[in-house]
Amino acid sequence: MTARAVGMSSLGVTAMSKEAIVGRTPAEAVALSDVTISFQLANRAVYTAVEQASLSVADGEFVAIVGPTGCGKSTLLNVAAGLLSPSAGTAAIFGTPLRGLNRTAGYLFQQEALFPWKTARDNVAIGLEVAGVSAAEAHAKADAWLARVGLAGFGPRYPHMLSGGQRKRVGLAQVLIRDPKILLMDEPFGPLDAQTRQIMGNLLLDLWSADRKAVMFVTHDLEEAIALSDRVVIMSAGPAARIIGNWRVPLPRPRDISEVKLDPAFHQLHREIWQMLKDEVLKGYAQTGGG
């Protein structure tokens, strides 16, 4: 049964990627085509994390990538960031093949990524300072950004004096102050509690709607994915994870996360996607030895 489901979904991929390639302008913000990522393991075996994944994100589009734990979602994001080069396939940013780091992208990490030895203000300002902006100007802008993420007056605090949610806000300001054209987010709100996640989601939508950057948002939470994004991409369970589904989210904007979850269209879409995702999640559990 499971085997049949896989066969069907890989047919779905071919159809989807063709549409993705033909139907869009060449100036996609991110265009990953047939990306395969393999790692050499210690015992000389080769582990394929992601196999022939094609994914494009249009300028101004918010794409959520959903898949079971350990399916290589983050790996795909690292390719788009230029932190990892694919074993096969290509990555292009605004039509230019990506070499080295992706200078147009901002990356919000899942783990703690703030500099613990810098205050919140210095953490936010550093992206401008290393680009040659004067300290005074960088600090003024950092204070403005801290205010935008709801942390006015928290500038002199060190990361360990902030809560998990506050640290994520600082992280968001740290990335956005450089005004990246592309925003890469790797389960950024994963470690937060449910209420804080909702508040952070609304904050993110609020900031994003101001200048509509292209967003790749990795999550394992389907509800969060639908509530936030324009399009939800589903990945299969690893190893050799593939992209197996692609749904547009027809919900109107601006959205409020807690309200959009009451919309019948939200439930309809959630049910449809969950049908496909459920099998993959179970497969993922089977491979990682249970949840």
């Binding site: 932190l83 500099f115 290393v130």
Partner: protein, 262 residues
Amino acid sequence: MSRMKLLALQVLVAVVSIGAWHVLTTVPVFGKILLPPFFFSTPLDVGARIVKWFSEGTIWGHLWITLVEASLAFVIGSVGGVLVGFWFARKPLVAAVFDPYVKMINALPRVVLAPIFALWLGLGIWSKVALGVTLVFFIVFFNVYQGVKEVSLTVLNNARMLGMNERQLMRHVYWPSALSWMFSSLHTSVGFAVVGAVVGEYLGSAAGLGYIIQQAEGVFDVAGVFAGMVVLAAFVIAIDFAVTVVENRLLVWRPVAADTRT
């Protein structure tokens, strides 16, 4: 536990142990003194000796010499440890080549080097400084090496995504990380700087706390030995306190260890 209660208990420990020392060295038990004062001295003799040293002022010169030796050993050892630690951490090939030699020299009990340093550098302060440097260098070196190696990969990737070049990574990421590791070992390395100085003096010198203790020992002046040890202990506690003050200023960004008040 309140501060006052803790302080009272700490004082109690000192009173009880000094009291026991006093009783055992002066009051006969079953007609026999258990700790003969010739070998163990008495608290009053030791106290009188310390008062004499300070009132005559002879001790200050010795303290100054030991302080200078320990400070020089600490500064030279730390600078060397930071430089080599950074170099090894950033150049894995160099680290791999020198690895067995570093381990070999570090395994060597440093005391055996003291006569060689005395031979090379004479009986002045520099042979003691050299001994202290061999102790401090390795502590700082290992910590800086570890600090540079153990920068969180996420923090490093974040720094690179924020546009830092190699030089900026050094300044904003590697250096603060290495410093925090170095400061976490500050108490140990300062302590070893003093150990190097005192052991060096003990084995051959004309001044310093180690010299006083060695001289007293040479004439079976046990009160002098104990008095020297007490002054040395007070000296180390004072230095340790100064280190704590410096540490608190420099590492404000670090979370304080879980509150231990109950």
